[in-house]
């Protein structure tokens, strides 16, 4: 009983803070300084709520499948409330840091523009580059695994190339492949190839020596070894690279757009709108990027879970 009373008090405190940052006129912290004391209280309440939720989930009191996302959502809410309160409370200039509410409004009212940018950057450049980069990284690694010599040559090269900052590669790619999405895709290929290559190679090498011996006693041909043993063993590593690349690819494409683009695309939008002091629009585009990246990552994580049901890491995660 006291439990639910506490929970309601915490929720109320959180709501109060929400009310404060939306219904008080801007600059309230400057006018009434004591109001800022409410902020840590709200954050503390949220932390309490999150830990209560976690306990409920772990005790399997609630159906964790639907409740689980609430915890990170609550966390995000707190961050947003903090941001909203600070920018509104101190009346921070919009061209420095807009409030989340303003970003949201910009997002809603510019959906057609944002969608066009998303199509240009994500559907064209990122997808094409990601696909080519990952597939070729995988293919080259599966080829290199056959020879120590190839590994010894390609791995240092891979590490060397990985150390090159993309910002340096991007202008060269724009020079070579033109202004449209092809040059961005090329940047993405360069960025994704080596992580995939290195991870696949590590995965193929991670094969249990005992399983190797087993295949050896069966006099398995190298393709059979690959399909039946090495590839499945390498899958966790491959998924790691796929997930890592999914976020890197988007960043790479956006960054490449800073170096020349037709007048559409997320990178173009960000750099142009900063110059025009439309910071809400900049943040709205960043929001789109973060959403696209997180959704791609999440989808890959789900796929991984389905494919790697047998892997100890997935099994222990499911056991929770």
């Amino acid at each position: 009983m006291t439990h639910s009373i506490k929970t309601s008090v915490y929720s109320l405190l959180l709501l109060a803070q929400l009310y404060l940052c939306f219904f008080f006129s801007a600059g309230f912290y400057k006018n009434q300084q004591w109001l800022i004391l409410l902020l840590p209280v709200a954050i503390f309440s949220a932390a309490k709520l999150m830990s209560t939720l976690t306990q409920l989930i772990d005790a399997k009191v609630v159906n964790s499948r639907y409740i689980k996302p609430l915890v990170p959502a609550l966390f995000a809410l707190v961050v947003l409330i903090f941001w909203q309160s600070m920018t509104k409370g101190f009346d921070v200039s919009k061209i420095l840091l807009p409030a989340p509410s303003e970003i949201f409004v910009a997002f809603i009212s510019n959906i057609p523009t944002l969608w066009a940018d998303f199509k240009q950057t994500y559907m064209k450049a990122v997808l094409a580059g990601y696909f080519i980069g990952c597939v070729s990284g995988f293919v080259v690694a599966s080829w290199a695994i056959k020879s120590r010599f190839l590994q010894n040559s390609l791995l240092p090269l891979g590490n060397f190339v990985s150390a090159i900052p993309i910002v340096g590669i991007a202008p060269i790619m724009v020079m070579w492949f033109g202004f449209d999405w092809q040059s961005k895709a090329a940047v993405v290929v360069v960025m994704t190839f080596f992580p995939m290559f290195i991870n696949t190679l590590a995965g193929l090498k991670s094969v249990d020596p005992l399983h190797n011996d087993l295949m050896h006693t069966y006099a398995a041909k190298s393709t059979q070894r690959f399909v039946k043993n090495q590839f499945p063993q390498a899958l966790p590593f491959i998924f790691n690279a796929l997930k890592l690349n999914s976020t890197m690819a988007l960043i790479g494409a956006i960054v490449a757009e800073f170096f020349g683009t037709p007048i559409v695309g997320m990178g173009f939008r960000i750099s142009t709108e900063v110059g025009r002091m439309n910071m809400e629009m900049v943040w709205a585009t960043i929001l789109v990027a973060a959403l696209a990246g997180s959704i791609s990552y999440g989808a890959l994580a789900l796929l991984e879970r389905a494919v790697l049901f047998w892997h100890p890491s997935v099994r222990s995660a499911q056991a929770k």
């Binding site: 061209i95 020349g260 007048i263 750099s271 900063v274 110059g275 002091m277």
Partner: protein
């Protein structure tokens, strides 16, 4: 000494020679000012630095300053260094462009990041669409003039004092090029000027400080215009990237000197007529409005007057 930070619009180069000369020759020191010059860059919006308190004075172009003002940052022009625009569109003759009428269907390289307003006004005046469809194809030009060499654009944006020289260095000859100066096309807008926050001007102490700064800067500019070679060397001295060449900077200084303000009371004085011309150009672009209404209080002569009376 009074501390003062100046945020430039772009990297260290002769475009900003006057300030570096004033710093190097001790003109700021003479007036008991401790000036720090922050170079800009492709993603530095000087107005943001101003709003964040990272700079007291910034160098900006009038169109973007007015647009920022409309966005709610009350910044005010306290002195106009350049009287003429150095912007032009540089086109390949082989692409078949000889007059603005030929732009239709062509690919034009344009700088964005707040530098696109004059271009957009011009296209609007010519009646070209810039967002696809019929009209011109616009490329967001990167940091350099490569697109014209790579054949990716028919025209690129250049400044008389900077990128145009690079186009020539790159192996194109003036005979191969058609130039459209914004000045000649009647769409010129005011470029490098000095801006501060409006609230500072209410404080006589600040006005005095800015006046000192302006006075010393003007002196620096005058010296630079008279001694272009030495000025270029001073700029080179301050370039932390080590990428600038003497040859290029000397040429830039020569070109920049031609743009310095000669109207009215000379360097530093914002001529209300020139101001109004810029505003009119911007207000006339109906398709992509840069500013929507006549700005009020966007410039002030108090600092200039004070400087002249010192």
């Amino acid at each position: 000494a009074d501390k003062l930070t100046l945020q430039l619009k772009w990297v260290t180069q002769a475009q900003f020679a006057g300030y570096y000369v004033a710093l190097e020759n001790g003109y700021y020191d003479d007036l008991d000012l401790d000036v720090t010059i922050k170079p800009g860059g492709p993603d530095i919006a000087p107005a943001q630095t101003l709003a964040g308190g990272g700079a007291d004075v910034i160098v900006d172009w009038l169109p973007s300053a007015l647009a920022t003002r409309e966005k709610g940052l009350p910044m005010v022009n306290i002195g106009q260094i350049y009287g003429k625009s150095g912007m032009m569109l540089t086109c390949l003759k082989t692409s078949g462009i000889s007059t603005p009428k030929d732009f239709g269907g062509k690919t034009l390289g344009v700088w964005f990041y707040g530098n696109e307003y004059p271009f957009l006004s011009w296209m609007s005046k010519l009646g070209y669409e810039t967002t696809g469809g019929s009209g011109v194809t616009v490329l967001k030009q990167g940091f350099n003039v490569d697109p014209i060499f790579q054949g990716q654009a028919d025209c690129v944006s250049t400044m008389t004092y900077n990128e145009y020289g690079q186009v020539l260095d790159g192996g194109l000859t003036p005979e191969e090029l058609t130039l459209f100066k914004y000045e000649d096309e009647g769409v010129a807008t005011l470029e490098d000027g000095l801006y501060v926050l409006e609230e500072d001007l209410a404080d006589p102490k600040m006005v005095e400080k800015y006046a000192k700064f302006l006075k010393a800067s003007i002196k620096g500019w005058q010296w630079a215009a008279e001694n272009p070679e030495e000025a270029a060397m001073i700029v080179l001295e301050y370039d932390d990237t080590g990428a600038q060449t003497e040859e290029h900077q000397v040429r830039m200084m020569g070109e920049v000197a031609k743009l310095l303000n000669t109207t009215g009371k000379g360097i530093g004085y914002l001529d209300p007529a020139a101001y109004q011309r810029t505003v009119d150009v911007l207000l006339n672009s109906d398709s992509t409005p840069v500013i929507t209404k006549e700005p009020v209080g966007a410039y002030s002569h108090v600092v200039f007057d004070k400087a002249m009376s010192m």
